[in-house]
Amino acid sequence: MAFPNSEFKNTKNYIDRETVSKRIKSRLQLNEVFKYIFLAGLVFALLVLSTLIYDVVTKGGGWVNLDFLRNFPSRRAAQAGLYPALIGTLWLMMLIVPMVFIVGVGAAIYLEEYAPKNRVTSFIEVNISNLAGVPSIVFGLLGLTFFVRTAGFGNSVLTGALTLGLMSLPIVIVASQEALRSVKMELRHASLALGASKWQTTFNVVLPSALPGIITGIILAVSRAIGETAPLIMIGAATFISTTPNNVFSDFTALPIQIYNWTSRPQAEFQNLAAAGIIVLMTVLITMNSAAIYIRNKYTNRH
């Protein structure tokens, strides 16, 4: 059946199991070896993560309670809380997400859908990718000279959000471009053929299809930004503050600053507070990511 018209008909032993298995044995072994190397890679990553989580939870788990979330920092570890830092971080997130979404996705749409494919465009694209690798402290310096001094926003939560937002932009732009590029050309063509304008096509067809990828990029970028300490210290964000922000020009502090400060204290109880702070920061991030994943899945199913 397999070889109806060939001379193989009578060569029943053409596939000699022994010969073949001897020949491919080394390849199969190599396959096994690599399988275990990859497995070891995964196990190692998970082991490190679980060790970290175990360490943080055993040290800080007992310290996370309502008072810890509601109180201001204190010299007495038992009364200390991270309320202003938590509120500061939430303010930052609320400002950064729309900012990077509008500017980042806008830039990506221009580059992918409108910009002519020439040297200038590819030069800009290369530089955006390079920006993604710039150390965060450099963005802190930029924030200090430009937003704090030149623009006169001071050490406000707006300055913090703009600085961290700028830092996240390259990742958001690159991820969004990738997502836009993966939208099938047929979809665009179909839309244009039905008489939709370029803008209608982009907004109603391309963008919704690319949204899952774009949101993934934003999650990654903003999660990284929320965990940053160096640029915030650089722009002069407070470490202790007796009030919480009530507008975008208010002074602020953020969770990573508070955690960093607690880890540097001599008293052992503050190390536990730092661990408790890490648990809170992780919870904030996981909550934000879950929300984003929910939105992403909704759109993935639709398209």
Binding site: F72, R75, I233, G236, S242, T263, P266, Q267
Partner: protein, 313 residues
């Protein structure tokens, strides 16, 4: 029926009276308080991470009294704090060393006048591993030799009756005020040996010395006090670091820690003047709570006179 109405009326009158009296009392207390009326506005501080725990404690207590004043304390380091202070951005600059000439010159160029206030004392502690049972005390000369001369490899090279145990050196980073003070008091501006391990995080130094038999390191007194079970402090020139010897300055590596206040802020902003007074009144007690040593009362009295004069009262 009517007696119920009457008693209800009576009850409400009573409760109003009580509430009124309570309010009256509060107002009286507020007016009679040391700081006078309730203030608002901002008090902006930045600077040394060494001074931070004291200022956090002061700000915490101050905010309990003056909840409408926004107090911010940053930790840009002594040098980073002065950079902002000399442009007039901050009201206070916390420092674990005195202001440098170039920083003072910049302040003058910007028309910023300031006053140095000593807040508390710290004793730079020289610590060794608890397994080190030989080095009980050390002199400044020996310290200078061992921290600068790379020919010193073992404890025997420092003092001949000490064992042939290799020395590992742990020190705070060169940007820290603690390093500056050690540089001035012990190294005489000679470069620190290249093989010393430097870290900005004092807890890293604690771990290093606690884990290495022949190690020596130095940092603020608070880090030694909190880690007495894993570290041992050496006496310097025969004097051990403790509350008493640091307070009376007989411990040779006692140092003052400071805050610099902007004179104009002190004069123009009542909340800054109130904070300065509050700080000066409570610094001794609060600094001891966070691991530092208070100064003698006479020093705080001097500060109080300076503050009163500058605040224009």
């Amino acid at each position: 029926m009517s007696w119920m109405k009457k008693s209800a009326l009576l009850a409400s009158i009573t409760s109003v009276a009580i509430v009124g009296a309570a309010c009256g009392n509060n107002n009286e207390e507020g007016n009679g308080g040391a700081e006078g009326e309730s203030l608002s506005g901002k008090v902006v501080m930045d600077g040394s991470s060494t001074v931070f725990p004291i200022m956090e404690a002061v700000a915490e207590e101050f905010s309990a009294e003056q909840s409408d004043v926004e107090v911010t304390v940053g930790v840009s380091g002594t040098g980073g704090g002065f950079k902002r202070f000399v442009t007039g951005e901050t009201d206070f600059s916390n420092a674990s060393r005195e202001i440098k000439e170039e920083e003072a010159a910049e302040a003058e160029a910007n028309g910023v006048e300031y006053t140095q206030l000593s807040v508390a004392l710290d004793g730079l502690s020289l610590v060794v591993n608890p397994e080190n049972d030989w080095a009980q005390d050390i002199t400044i000369d020996e310290l200078n030799k061992m921290w600068t001369d790379t020919n010193v490899k073992t404890w025997k090279d420092v003092r001949s009756d000490w064992p042939d145990e290799e020395i590992t050196f742990f020190a705070p980073g060169k940007d820290s005020g603690t390093f500056d003070f050690f540089n001035e008091a012990v190294l005489d501006d000679t470069d620190i040996r290249q093989d010393a391990q430097l870290s900005e995080d004092d807890n890293v130094l604690v771990t290093g010395v606690a884990g290495t038999k022949g190690a020596i390191g130095f940092f603020g007194y608070a880090y030694y006090v909190e880690n007495q079970d894993t570290l041992r402090a050496m006496a310097v020139e025969g004097v051990e670091p403790n509350q008493e010897t640091i307070n009376d300055l007989s411990y040779p590596l006692s140092r003052e820690i400071y805050t610099y206040v902007n004179n104009a802020s002190l004069n123009d902003k009542p909340q800054v003047a109130a904070f300065a007074r509050f700080l000066n009144e409570n610094a001794a007690e609060l600094s001891e709570e966070v691991g530092y040593v208070g100064m003698e009362q006479a020093r705080y009295d001097e500060n109080a006179d300076i503050i009163d004069e500058l605040a224009g009262e």
